[in-house]
Amino acid sequence: MIAIEGVSKTFPNGTLALENISTGIAAGEFVALLGPSGCGKSTLLRLLAGLETPSQGAIDFAEGRPKPGGIGFVFQDATLMPWATAAQNVALPLRLQGRPDAAAVKAALAQVGLAEFASAKPAALSGGMKMRVSIARALVSKPHFLLMDEPFAALDEFTRHRLQEDLRDLWRRTRPTIVFVTHSIYEAAYLATRVIVMSPRPGRIAADLPSPVQDGPERRTADDYVAFVKQLTKTLQAVMPA
């Protein structure tokens, strides 16, 4: 579905953020980009979104570049508009695309369990609730392609687990293509069907590992999950500079 061919990115200040990245992402895959800070994983996500252009190489979409609204993007912070209600924040992508749809907004809020908070302003919501609004905003235009940049990094452990489970459920039900940036081994092992491990400065693909973890309710304590965490840990240790 998406072919990334020999992509490098050099910033105007001369920093080489990504070097010669080549891989493909199939429709319906849940890919985690795992790596330490400064490995260019967020840059790769922005390139996929079309927010940056590669210095070299190309990113090709089999069905052509997604139209406005074809990509759902979730940022590290919830980045809601503080003056707008949860419903107005969720409605934003549809409004910008010129196709307001109150029912879709309602459904997206219900999907993240915030139906009763439609008219609440962000100041009245907890960190986890704000992130759920942010996810609803990314889902409202039903994108086939969901890009997430460490969306749960700033949340507490309990909220993070809850939202991870919600995200797994969502993916299981609707099978969007998800690229999820994280620096957490556990998160990558728990969520993804495939983990791309990146090495820092400049960012390169160090390993590309399909997840052996079986789907199931006890996933977080299952032996195959624990083994995958170990495998990812060892891979990361090998790529980290001493």
Partner: protein, 253 residues
């Protein structure tokens, strides 16, 4: 410090100062054409009540007209600067230059060039008061979260949508801070311009009454006019602070 004390402290401090002042003037027997006692000032205010209040209204009309023009001009220029780096580069140094040139130096020219005195006064007060609105609104526009701007781009937002639905609402808190500073500067600007225009000018503002009282050695009336200006300045600052507080509370809650 609790809230009651916060309000009481400046009042008590002022009251203590006034009592000391009254006592010092009376005990030293200083004549009121040199330093009037507070009680003389109150009597002078009562004597010139309608004259002084009319003058105050006249000065305030100039002040608020200038604040309105400064708001429109400051926000428009800030938007233009945010929209185009070229416009920003072209305007910024001149805006600073205008801001640092003392108004007393420019005011005579403006009063010479602009026939209608009221317009000339408003122009002078606008020159001194538009800069905080321009600078703070420009900063607010520039501080709009990059993630939200990216989100607008990803959803194919037009420039117009980005301006009205994101940039301007994001700049509101900064704009209100600037407006508060500009409010008091507009009053200062109006008074300075009235001073320069002098008796040949609009001839009804508080500055004119201060000059007139000075010529006639009516020093208590001069003090009364000054007190009105000081109270107006504090009131404008407090009122704009309250407006800012209410607007932001209504907006975000």
């Amino acid at each position: 410090m609790n809230r009651k004390l916060e309000i009481a402290a400046p009042l008590l401090f002022g009251l203590g100062g006034i009592l000391l002042w009254q006592a010092a003037v009376r005990l030293t027997g200083t004549p009121k054409y040199v330093v009037p006692a507070p009680s003389d000032v109150v009597v002078a205010y009562a004597d010139g009540f309608s004259l002084l209040n009319q003058a105050l209204v006249s000065t305030l009309v100039v002040t608020f007209s200038a604040l309105l023009v400064a708001t429109l001009l400051g926000v428009a220029l800030a938007v233009a600067m945010a929209a185009s780096p070229l416009v920003r580069a072209a305007i910024q140094p001149w805006a600073v230059a205008l801001q640092v040139t003392p108004l007393v130096a420019i005011a005579p020219l403006i009063i010479l060039w602009v026939n209608q005195t009221f317009v000339a006064l408003v122009v002078c007060a606008t020159i001194i008061s538009f800069f905080p609105i321009l600078a703070s609104t420009a900063a607010g526009l520039a501080e709009t979260p990059r993630d939200l701007q990216d989100l607008f781009r990803l959803n194919g937002a037009s420039r117009r949508q980005t301006l009205f639905m994101l940039l301007l609402p994001s700049a509101v808190p900064n704009f209100l801070t600037g407006l508060r500073i500009s409010g008091t500067l507009a009053l200062v600007g109006a008074v300075v311009a009235e001073f320069v225009a002098g008796s040949g000018g609009f001839a009804s503002g508080l500055a004119y009454r201060i000059i007139e009282a000075g010529y006639r050695l009516e020093i208590p009336r001069m003090f009364a006019a000054m007190a009105l200006l000081a109270v107006s300045g504090v009131a404008i600052y407090a009122a704009l602070g309250l407006v800012s507080h209410l607007v932001l509370r209504r907006r975000d809650h």
